[in-house]
């Protein structure tokens, strides 16, 4: 399941970008060291294959539902874990920008849940030890199924944790876990069966194709540990740093503006553009029947929350304020009309030109 932009906070989204980006950069460097120019077209083609194969569904007998290939584990079997991670990341990027599967901010989270988890955790730490060096068909199929289930469970756990940490969903953590994990147990089993069936088919159809994954390659588990440690540290550091700033100053964008400008002149009220806007904001504030909502507990037209505003409202239950809502809805409708009008005008001007 693809994580979505609309459920993510910037702190979580950017942390996951950092973690996935670190993994992809390491994988990229490893591949350059291999310097196998055959891999380039093969990786491109297999990415396109996963993209196409995910659109072919098979019926699951007796349920009326359908399943399809996940791809991460199969790619790791065919290409090794580093190339597989890059291929999955490229497929997810294309899906994000062409089909809005996930989104740009959620891309890091998706590459982590659907790429790093199957390629760098499930494949080296579950599949390889279970399959051993020269597995029989049955042992190989079981190892694939178990690895697929583990990958899907961890991926679903990732979605739940990222959603919960972002704080946009009201679903309690335990309820969300109880919804996601059993569903993904089933999906994992279906995906595992599909992947295993496909791998056994390939063993007959093209015996040499899967050779790359068995002998000759270094045992993966030992090499995976430093990489996983680096990933965990990168995620923890960025997450910790970002969430610290987020808690001190809930307005993440203001923080990044300050950080980028190297000065807090933009943030200090009474100074420059922000101060001017803040004064403008205060001038409107005395208008009848309208309240500037404070921080989290806000009306439909909530104002940005500064550090001071966050502690301003002690009441846990917000009280409905009809005036506020009317202003929010009215303002929202007029804003939408204005935006649409601007778009329409621009199109007309272009049509005339």
């Amino acid at each position: 399941m693809h994580m979505a932009d609309a459920l993510l906070s910037p702190a979580v989204g950017i942390s996951m970008w950092a973690a996935a980006g670190t993994a992809a950069a390491i994988a990229s460097r490893r591949l350059r060291q291999q310097a196998d120019d055959q891999l380039v077209p093969l990786m491109g083609m297999l990415g396109a294959f996963v993209f196409a194969a995910q659109m072919v569904n098979f019926g699951i007998p007796g349920t009326g539902s359908s399943g399809h290939l996940g791809g991460g584990l199969l790619l790791a079997l065919l290409l090794g874990r580093h190339a597989a991670l890059l291929v999955i990341a490229s497929v997810l990027t294309v899906q994000a920008i062409f089909f809005a599967d996930g989104g740009l901010l959620a891309l890091g989270a998706n590459v982590f849940n659907l790429g790093v988890v199957p390629c760098l955790i499930a494949y080296p730490l579950v599949y390889r030890p279970l399959a051993g060096t020269a597995p029989s068909d049955t042992r190989r199929a079981i190892a694939i199924a178990v690895a697929a289930v583990v990958a899907l469970q961890l991926g679903a756990l990732g979605v739940v944790l990222q959603t919960a940490l972002s704080g946009l969903s009201s679903l309690p953590l335990d309820t969300f876990l109880w919804l996601m994990l059993p569903i993904h147990l089933a999906i994992g089993l279906v995906e595992g069966v599909a992947t295993a069936a496909l791998v056994l088919f390939l063993r007959r159809a093209w015996p040499g194709l899967l050779e790359g994954e068995a002998p000759g390659r270094r045992p993966a588990a030992a090499r995976a540990r430093p990489l996983l440690a680096a990933l965990a540290v990168a995620a923890a550091v960025t997450g910790g740093v970002l969430s610290w700033f987020a808690s001190v100053r809930p307005d993440g964008l203001e923080w990044s503006v300050t950080y980028a400008a190297g000065t807090d002149a933009l943030v200090a009220p009474g100074d420059g553009l922000h101060g001017h806007l803040a004064r403008l904001q205060q001038r409107y504030a005395w208008l009848p029947d309208y309240d500037w909502p404070a921080a989290d507990a806000a009306g439909a037209g909530a104002a940005p929350a500064g550090a001071a505003a966050a502690s301003a409202d002690p009441a846990p239950w917000p009280h409905p304020k009809p005036g506020t809502s009317v202003a929010g809805v009215l303002g929202g409708v007029v804003t939408l009309a204005l935006v649409t009008g601007v778009g329409w005008l621009l199109r007309r001007r272009r049509a005339r030109a």
Binding site: V40, G44, S90, V94, A302, P322, V342
Partner: protein, 270 residues
């Protein structure tokens, strides 16, 4: 993930849109990429109960779509096909967050419905911005921008190849699916064994094709890296584009424009 037919249609529609010469297409792809990323982060940075405050952000995809001649129909279709996770998870908000928050026409609306509406608005904004970006830029130019912005060349090459061959392989998968449906019209979906044979053959053909492509690439002097073919030129207009939109995002984020507009309207009409 959409079904094969609509996916192919979507890919082709976007590619033909991106191939046209519009004011949006002439903009440097780096400017569009940076502005879109800032847009998405801004949209995500709002508090969970903000709905109206997010709406001025819609100016960004609206203006870009108008400058790129991208029809609203395409955006609406993309929203319809997009992954439903956000909507499904968001639907739980009204169940768990029942404290009344706002009052509309005498009816109390709970915080859950407000935050659900907020998730839907974010969803529409981020999905349309990403689609406008690719439909007004095209994948090759977007990849060139990524390369110039420091993304490793191996990943940029990978993206380009996946995009190029996605057309070929999705087309092939669609033909396989049609052939199967003609042979088994009463079965809407294949069973596992037929599925395995279909997807397995698709994979075998893909690997075979990759080997042919590799030989063709070597014949053309390929040495492990695909070089970017297009030069990018950053103009003053691109700086104005990025700075202008950043200023708009900062304004929308720091001042509740619809709120003050509504309050002003309510005050003047009262």
């Amino acid at each position: 993930m959409p079904r094969i037919g609509s996916a192919l249609q979507e890919l082709r529609a976007i590619e033909s849109l991106a191939a046209r010469d519009t004011p949006l297409a002439r903009q440097d792809p780096r400017a569009k990429l940076v502005a879109t990323l800032l847009f998405v982060v801004t949209a995500a940075s709002f508090e969970r109960y903000v709905v109206a405050g997010l709406l001025p952000l819609a100016l960004f995809p609206t203006v870009l779509a108008a400058r790129g001649d991208i029809q609203g129909r395409l955006l609406a279709r993309a929203l319809w096909l997009a992954s439903p996770l956000a909507v499904m998870v968001g639907l739980f908000n009204p169940l768990f967050d029942r404290a009344p928050m706002v009052e509309l026409a005498g009816i109390d609306v709970s915080g859950g419905w407000v935050s659900f509406a907020s998730i839907l608005v974010r969803f529409a904004l981020t999905v349309s911005a990403a689609l406008v970006l690719v439909a007004g830029t095209g994948m090759p130019m977007l990849c060139a921008a990524l390369g110039r912005l420091g993304v490793p060349q191996s990943f940029v090459t990978q993206l380009l190849l996946v995009y190029r061959y996605a057309f070929v392989l999705v087309d092939e998968a669609a033909r396989m699916a049609t052939a199967r449906r003609l042979r088994a019209p009463d079965q809407p979906r294949p069973g596992l064994s037929v599925y395995t044979a279909m997807v397995g053959h698709l994979l075998v053909r893909a690997v075979d094709r990759a080997q042919r492509v590799h030989r063709a690439m070597i014949a053309r002097g390929f040495d492990g890296e695909v070089l970017p073919t297009r030069a990018l030129r950053w103009r003053a207009a691109d700086t104005v584009f990025v700075v202008g939109w950043c200023a708009w995002f900062a304004l929308v984020r720091s001042v509740d424009l619809p709120g003050s507009l509504g309050a002003w309207l309510a005050a003047t009409t009262a």
